[in-house]
């Protein structure tokens, strides 16, 4: 087939492939790769004086304010990831193992619908729900359960975690579901025929085999939540900025592209390192269970 095509067009397969992918590839080079390189160059040069220097990075990595913000971003996104994936696993398991195959797409459709409704409005709804005069407080007060609004539920890190866990829930379910679907059901029967209990079969067969899906879910939730901008602004009331808010303030309000770039590159490095650790854990885990 490849030779046939080459005979018709007079081009090699490699040339045809590159020619075909080039518009999309060039677009990504110009609008993604080049800007990322530009940010790296900004991060490695000094404001006003210019010249190559690691000083920006040194400042970002040692100043307490940046460390605190990075720490908060990581705490929030680790917690969100843990909550989201742990809550999502049983749902994915239920749909994959206990729902009739003809009804599976309906269940997945139901799970994905909330994800496709405006992200901003969903985040804002949590502010409305948890706010001082919000739905929870006014509801509890009109039921007579409390006399004064609860202070502890709004404008804190927990409220941010709840909001983000809700926003990213479908993202975690889908990859876990896909990996559970791939498991050969006869392995589970074999486990039980050989005298394992259902629980032990789950722990020793199902869970390890679904690990690639769990890791994918972890990354899909972790990466965007580290860089989330809207939730700290709306739910945190602007008092609990995360790294994305810091990048905005430095780049635009203080107009310091060099420091802003250094923060952005640092955030990217952190995300990359954490992702690599998860991927390596996955590899080790799979090898260990062989």
């Amino acid at each position: 087939m490849a030779q046939e095509q080459a005979a018709v067009t007079g081009r090699s397969e490699a040339a045809s492939g590159w020619l075909l992918i080039s518009p999309t590839f060039l677009y990504s080079v110009l609008l993604l790769a080049a800007p990322l390189v530009a940010v790296l160059v900004y991060a490695l040069t000094l404001k006003d004086v210019g010249g190559f220097s690691f000083a920006n990075f040194h400042e970002v990595w040692t100043k307490p304010i940046y460390q605190k913000l990075m720490g908060r971003s990581l705490t929030v996104s680790f917690s969100v990831t843990l909550v989201t994936v742990a809550l999502a696993y049983p749902v994915a398991y239920f749909v994959s193992f206990h729902v009739h195959p003809s009804k599976k797409s309906l269940w997945l459709f139901l799970i994905t619908i909330p994800f496709w409704t405006s992200y901003l409005i969903r985040v804002f709804l949590w502010k409305v729900i948890l706010g001082y005069n919000g739905v929870v407080n006014s509801g509890l007060m009109s039921l007579g359960l409390i006399d004064a609004p609860l202070q502890a539920i709004n404008y804190n890190v927990q409220a941010m975690i709840l909001t983000l866990a809700h926003a990213y829930a479908p993202f975690a379910i889908l990859p876990i579901f896909v990996s559970l679907e791939k498991i050969d059901r006869s392995l589970l029967e074999a486990g039980q025929d050989l005298g394992e209990s259902r629980w032990m079969t789950f722990l020793r067969v199902t869970l390890p085999l679904s690990m690639p899906g769990v890791i994918a879910a972890v990354l899909i939730v972790f990466i965007p939540t580290v860089g989330d901008y809207v939730t700290p602004d709306l739910i945190g009331g602007g008092k609990l900025p995360m790294i994305a808010n810091m990048i905005e303030v430095t780049m635009l309000k203080q107009n310091d592209r060099h420091m802003g770039s250094a923060i952005a590159v640092t955030a990217m490095l952190v995300v990359a390192v954490v992702s690599l650790i998860f991927l390596m854990l996955n590899k080790r885990f799979l090898r260990g269970t062989k």
Partner: protein
């Protein structure tokens, strides 16, 4: 259908997923300026207030232009990449596709900021056009993913037969391949449109002073008295995106049925 505990848990989970969204229509029709219980009675005045706001219509006009252009351009770029990756073997294919799919695994804020830095340095004025540039970058990976699965389910012997019967590669693509991947193209258009419509960060930072739907909504949050009207707008948006999704799902299933496959999954 065993495991009643899991079933109860899953239903409780769905209730948690839907609970905030159910509040939208509840308070959109509630006759009170504050979003709080108890409900005060039925009204449609929030919909009228929302409808009468000229700024909203400007934002909708801009968003319509942006999302339509993004859907078309991303799907076109997606077609090139998906066709190349399913049909040809070529050196550095993994690296090229990796770069194209990279926006999926980068925090959006970083992509937006690096584009902004370059646009400012080049002196490009921020406008609807720069939002489109950014959104196409974000949506293309989704288009590539959807279209790759559409191309993968194609039977290559159909293409070989057309070539053997004397068609050129171009007419084969036009007459045989395009109609078969059409369901994939339509669902890619709809999904890119929806993502672009909903996207906030790029629209906020790359748009200059041009309002779009998401930045309009964000701006309204600053004024507590505008919130019920936003609830009304949210109700309409939820209904719209469910309709769009149902259409996309219909075409996706028809595509799978056409290719003779079995359906077990959803989007992505």
């Amino acid at each position: 259908m065993k495991a009643p505990a899991l079933r109860v848990y899953t239903i409780a989970y769905l209730v948690f997923l839907y609970a905030p969204i159910v509040l939208l229509p509840l308070f959109a029709f509630n006759d009170s300026k504050v979003i709080a219980f108890p409900l005060q009675g039925f009204t449609t005045s929030w919909f009228q207030i929302m409808w009468a706001d000229q700024n909203l219509w400007n934002a909708i006009k801009n968003s319509a232009v942006i999302s339509t252009s993004v859907a078309v351009f991303s799907t076109l770029l997606g077609l090139f990449a998906a066709r190349a990756s399913t049909r040809f073997k070529f050196p550095a294919k993994g690296a090229a596709l990796g770069l194209i799919m990279l926006p999926l695994v980068l925090p959006e804020m970083i992509v937006a900021m690096s584009m902004l830095v370059v646009l400012l340095a080049l002196g490009v004025p921020l406008s609807i056009f720069t939002i489109i540039l950014g959104h196409v970058l974000l949506c293309t990976p989704f288009a590539v993913a959807i279209l790759t699965s559409a191309f993968q389910s194609l039977d290559q012997s159909l293409e070989e037969a057309a070539l053997d019967l004397g068609e050129t590669p171009l007419s084969t693509f036009w007459l045989i391949i395009l109609p078969l991947v059409m369901p994939g193209i339509i669902s890619s258009l709809l999904i890119c449109f929806t993502i672009s419509l909903d996207e906030f960060i790029m629209a906020y930072f790359l748009g200059g002073n041009e309002p779009v739907l998401s930045t309009y909504i964000f701006g309204q949050f600053r004024f507590p008295q505008r919130v019920p009207a936003i609830m009304a707008l949210g109700t309409i948006l939820v209904c719209l995106s469910i309709t769009l999704l149902a259409i996309a799902e219909y075409f996706r299933r028809r595509g799978i049925a056409k290719a003779g496959g079995k359906d077990t999954g959803g989007f992505l």
